[in-house]
Amino acid sequence: MNMLRSQNLRIVVTVGLLSGAFILYTGAVGMIAAFHEREVVKDVISLGQVLLMLAPFASGFIAANRIGDGGAEQAAILAGGFAVGFITAIPTIVLLLFNSAEYRFLLELTLRVLPFVAATYFAWPMYRDGKDMRFVIGSWLAIAVLIGIVTFSFALIFEIKGDLRSVLVNINRDWVDVVTFDNRRELMTGILTLTIISVAAGLAGSVFRIIPTIPRRALLYGFGVTLLVGAFGETVRLILQENLDRDTMRELFQRDTLRQQPALMLLIISTVVGFLWAKFGQQVRTGFTSMEPSQRRVMNGVGMLIFAGILLMLPWLIGRTLSDVAVTIGIFVLMGLGLNIAIGLAGLLDLGYVTNYAVGAYILAVLTSIGPLGRLDGVFTFWMVIPVALLAAMFAGFIFAVPVLRMRGDYLAIATLGFGEIIGKLAISDWLKPLIGGAQGVQAIPKPIFLGAELKNPEQLYYIVLVASLVTLFVSIRLNNSRTGRQWMAIREDEDVATAMGIDTARAKLLAFTLSAATGGVAGAIFAAKVGTVFPNSFTVFISINVLSLIIVGGIASNPGIVVGAVVLIGMPELLREFSDFRFLMYGALLVMMMINRPQGFIPSKLVTHEVRAAVKAKVAPAD
């Protein structure tokens, strides 16, 4: 029993401090204050507050799960959630106290006492173990002085500047407003509110663990949907306003924010739907699988038709702004599918994919521009140049592949990274300035003209991207099951053995790089036509990293995964402007989380699923 208790205590403290650190960190980088700008439900809750509650809630649930798995009673589980919520609030409260004028002496005291406490903490075991007294005192002094130098200089800064903002720029009034739930003037009330809310969220997390599965899923679904609709209020509003009249819209939304009544309705409806699905979903699924194969085919066909219909109608359903986002997503889907040939199929880690994108964009810009740099007077149209851009990108892919054919793994990655940089430098160079405009880039790129109509809106450009993506998708599905695809997979597995099978590995790798480059060129050309101008700044290493990340997050070597990855990684920052400042922070967090919890990606290819299952099985029950 005692063992159990101390173990639970450790879980609670670890999880609680982690989520406390999370809140402190997101506050210190300004995320909480930025997210507070976005209201989820009018006058009820903001996204920043959701973040403040989500952390103790999730960690309360995690801690409750671990304690519960250890076989503790309900009371212990609830106590765990309660404690986690409380501990989560502590770091923020300490920082609040340090930051306030009234209690700043606490900070100064801490900074002055800390060196001696720390020195004693480290020196005590030496004294206890009976080390030479001179040695113990010497160590104590050395540690105190070392840490003291740091803390005393901090203390000096605060006395001069007066508050923490001189070090942590985002620990400012906005932050205090959010974490105290608008009680900046009554700091103690604010701290109390924060504590109560945090504890309540932690407790709710542990309650969540105790209640039965069906209501749990229903609640999860209900709150999840409401939260998403609220957070993406702007997007939802843009979609709805295409299809609803103005008065209805005004009842649902105030500007971009969900009003209270519709939010409550949404919560109730989605919870009920979630409940019904949790209760009867399994039956529906078994009903579907037990249907006659012919019936099932019909159902699948109907599903595909509806999906195709939505894809075709999308610009009308979502309006201009979101169509623009859809085009950007589509451009990245194109690049993702292309890069996947090199990375997913042939196992060639190419970090210079931006090269192909830049080549495609500049080819289209120079050949079609009607500005000063376009010396061809618009003789060439978009449609004539697309194949040129494709071939040029393939040629670039081929040229850059030749020198790296013999490299493998990390070395290949570094070399290709270098090529990406070379292209960036070439684009901005004075040497090529007469041709592609150096830092000013190429302007006045005309929009594509189709059957006499200028495709100038994103709604129209969307169809170009759609067709290009579908063609690429078709080609990569075919490649996946072809002799060529097989030869790449063989090389990915073992180059020497692939050679022993009679595969000309050099040729196969060249082909992989070249084909993979093709869609990058098309994506670049579409991008140039969409934006109308081409600057060197658009072609940084971050393009390559974005494309690589969306492949990994979506699921390597999985075509549907790549589409989902593009929607999540490219679409989300576009839709939620608050996110875009923290885009790379979130990318990093997302990638780390994916690697730990779901290394196979959102929608893994069948092969990888096999593999992960086999690995898990091997871990659970070691083979003979």
């Binding site: 597995e493 073992d494 020497d496 692939a498 050679t499 022993a500 099978m501 009679g502 000309d504 086999a614």
Partner: protein, 236 residues
């Protein structure tokens, strides 16, 4: 004339002189064993014949043609197939996909029939044809590697340490299979540390010692040879 003639080949790893003039001959339909201790140059000899390494001096003549500097992938369609050391199956492809890879150089219509033939020879592989090759046991992987090599319809099969890492029971099975394959008319060049097993099924054998052929004789005589018995068969 022999199917394969290796005459006085010298192969280097950088500056290390690994093969110091190895010569031997393999006639059509024979099983030839190359035996020797670790580092004697057995695998290097196979890698040189199969084109993964190029000899600095000497010649490899296959079917009357000099293949000393031919690339490895071109030799497969000429009828030389290798089962690499450590099996080297494509772990993340299924068994059937592995077999398909073996027939990579072929474009005739007989591949399907050959696949059936392989499943006839190795019923275990048929049971597991949709399984990932990496999930097979060691013995099954060795069977798969051999079957895959046979899918290219070789005249000469190079086997590198087929018994490595296998339980003794499985080793017997593997050598039975090799004998059966030879019975179908495939010439076999076998590199083995397990000299005992190799000499039991071989027609002739060569003993390699620090990059040179030390002894060459029929398998029967080698089994009786005192030096071979002492050094490689563990008989005092």
């Amino acid at each position: 004339m022999g199917l394969l003639e290796v005459s006085d080949i010298h192969t280097y790893y950088g500056n290390i002189h690994a093969l110091k003039g190895v010569s031997f001959e393999v006639d059509s339909g024979e099983i030839i064993a190359l035996i020797g201790s670790n580092g004697a140059g057995k695998t290097t000899t196979l890698r040189t014949i199969s084109g993964l390494m190029e000899p600095r001096e000497g010649q490899v003549i296959y079917d009357g043609e000099d293949i000393s500097s031919a690339r490895a992938d071109t030799l497969v369609s000429k009828g030389i197939s290798m089962v690499p050391e450590g099996r080297g199956v494509f772990a993340k492809l299924t068994v059937e996909e592995n077999l398909d890879m073996g027939a990579y150089t072929r474009r005739d219509s007989g591949i399907k029939d050959d696949l059936k033939g392989m499943y006839g020879l190795f019923p275990r592989l048929q049971e597991r044809r949709r399984q990932l090759a990496g999930t097979l046991s060691g013995g099954e992987q060795q069977m798969l590697a051999i079957a895959r090599a046979l899918m290219s319809q070789p005249r000469l099969l190079l086997l590198d340490e087929p018994s490595m890492g296998l339980a003794p029971v499985l080793v017997d099975g593997v050598f039975d299979t090799i004998q059966r394959i030879a019975g179908e008319g495939v010439t076999i060049l076998l590199v083995e540390q397990n000299a005992h097993m190799a000499l039991q099924i071989a027609d002739r054998g060569y003993v390699l010692q620090s990059g040179e052929v030390a002894i060459s004789d029929t398998a029967e005589n080698l089994q009786q040879n005192e030096t071979v018995q002492k050094t490689y068969l563990g008989i005092d």
